[in-house]
Amino acid sequence: MGQTIAEKIIAEHARVECVVPGQIVTVPVDMAMANELSAALSIKELKSWGIEKLFDTNRVCLIPDHFTPNKDINAAGITRTVREFANKHDIKWYFEVGRAGIEHAVLPMEGVILPGQIMVGGDSHSCTAGAINCLATGVGSTDIACAWATGDIWLKVPQSAKLTYSGKLPPYVYGKDLILYALKDLGTAGATYMSIEFHGSVFDQLPMADRFTMANMAIEAGGKTGIFRFDEKTKELVESTPRYKAEKPSYKTYDPDPDAVYAIERKYDVSNLEPMIARPFSPDLVGPVSEIKNVKIDQVVIGTCTNGWLDDMIRAAEILKGRKVHRDVKAIIIPGSQKIARQAFDLGLPQIFIDAGCVFSTSTCGPCIGGHMGVLGENDVCVSTTNRNFKGRMGHITSRVYLANTSVAAASAVLGRVGSPVEL
């Protein structure tokens, strides 16, 4: 029987010829990553279990990014705990604030995770790395503690969903719209426990950034992971990372068999797609942006782990160049990593953002989880390029978040209401 990408990666790690969905296997993980919030619990658990020694410190990655730069005294305490743990165990892949950014933007771009590998992350959006043809999935802190202690994790082999996108992309339609469209179709539980494989000719028209955006939101359909096939674009990204250049590690890539079995198969023609938007309070309440009329907004957030890639910075600048953010709107732009911020400076993008009246922030998850750097107050309305708009997600429980692509968010910032770039 043919195998999907996820089945092949799991079988290879479990050292068996094939696996079947539903089967539970124990596999070695190539990388177990945590941010400061998930790590704090993992560290506490290892201590309570009496475990002093980690299985392999080179397979541990720690990135304080949620409440950093420390938002308050509690956050400062937590990041100190994580730093001390990293130093005690001499963790190679510890990324201090100012030297990295948001975990999901850092891992694949630094080469910490490679194609064909299995990565578990103490954050649900760990599936982002699936864009480079690896099996990356979000887990809790106990799972991370287990992986750090034993090198292994238990996994239920997921069923797979195959989403194929064809056609020619209309203007201002990007990866975010493609995944929001799939969410509208599948719903927030439509791919529960599944590995979502993304296929189709559309991805030849888009940069890697859009693959990351789409893999990032696989979890919003309940997915275990989102995976893309490996191609020249993947190879170029992987082999330009600092770790690859320094170590030249070997890696394997995986394609599904022609007779692989999928629980769900969908074909989407994107040729007539409009930019999409998800209304409060769920990422699957999706429709065309043009259907949202007269919704005044208080804030726009562009960036973070979903849309904080260099291409997003470029798309935001295209809209904001020579324009001003509406007087009633706070526009906050957050690049995914220090590297992306640096590249944005090289292109003169932050200057454009500042001239337009935006905040250009350092990398942080802050506003997306209602942490800091743009928490929403009572009845605030926000257009955000982030991935979740649950009740209270970005602050007060009466606040309302609309999820959209970068160009739509930037256009909305100028318009002062939910709107599309074509209205400018």
Binding site: L37, A40, K44, S48, S124, G140, T142, A189, G222, I369
Partner: protein, 165 residues
């Protein structure tokens, strides 16, 4: 093992952001977590719950963030089990790993109302709604998960694997 308690009924797509809002995600202490459990859904949740009570929910319970403080807070507040039509993947894993009993039974979720008394035979695969006088089955846990549950969570499995049990 038999679990008994009164039902706290809730809806579908109960996500981990409302179970434990981001603003409390720095907490690791059980007592503190208990105070904020389900706060954005029901501010008085922690006051209403008696030790042993059971949450009964619709589809996709625990969707969203992987934050383990969500199931930890439910356990800390005194909930003995969660019964739902279905669970989101990461929440399911986390609950098994930390030893919070969870059961998938669409029939039970449909027929059960707030305040009903439930009796769950964990390994017998049966939920009894004492108030309504109805029995419901749930699918037994796969052997591997049962092993973890038997050990009270993933800790036992890890210690055994490392020869420290």
């Amino acid at each position: 093992m038999i679990l008994k308690g009164s039902v706290y009924k809730t809806g579908e797509n109960i996500n981990t952001d409302v179970i434990m809002p981001g603003r409390w995600c720095h907490l690791t202490d059980d007592k503190e977590l208990a105070k904020h459990c389900m706060e954005d859904l029901d501010i008085d949740f922690h006051k209403k719950i008696k030790v042993g009570d059971i949450i009964v929910a619709d589809d996709n319970f625990g969707c969203g963030s992987s934050r383990e403080v969500a199931p930890l807070s439910i356990k800390a507040v005194g909930i003995s089990a969660v019964v739902a039509k279905s669970f989101a993947r990461i929440f399911y894993r986390n609950a098994i790993n930390i030893g919070l009993p969870i059961f998938e039974s669409p029939e039970c979720a449909d027929a059960t109302e707030a305040g009903d008394r439930l009796e769950i035979d964990m390994f017998g695969g049966k939920i009894k709604n004492i108030t309504k006088g109805k029995d419901f089955a749930f699918a037994p846990f796969p052997p591997f998960m049962k092993t973890i549950i038997d050990k009270g969570g993933l800790k036992g499995w890890v210690l055994e694997k490392l020869g420290k049990a």
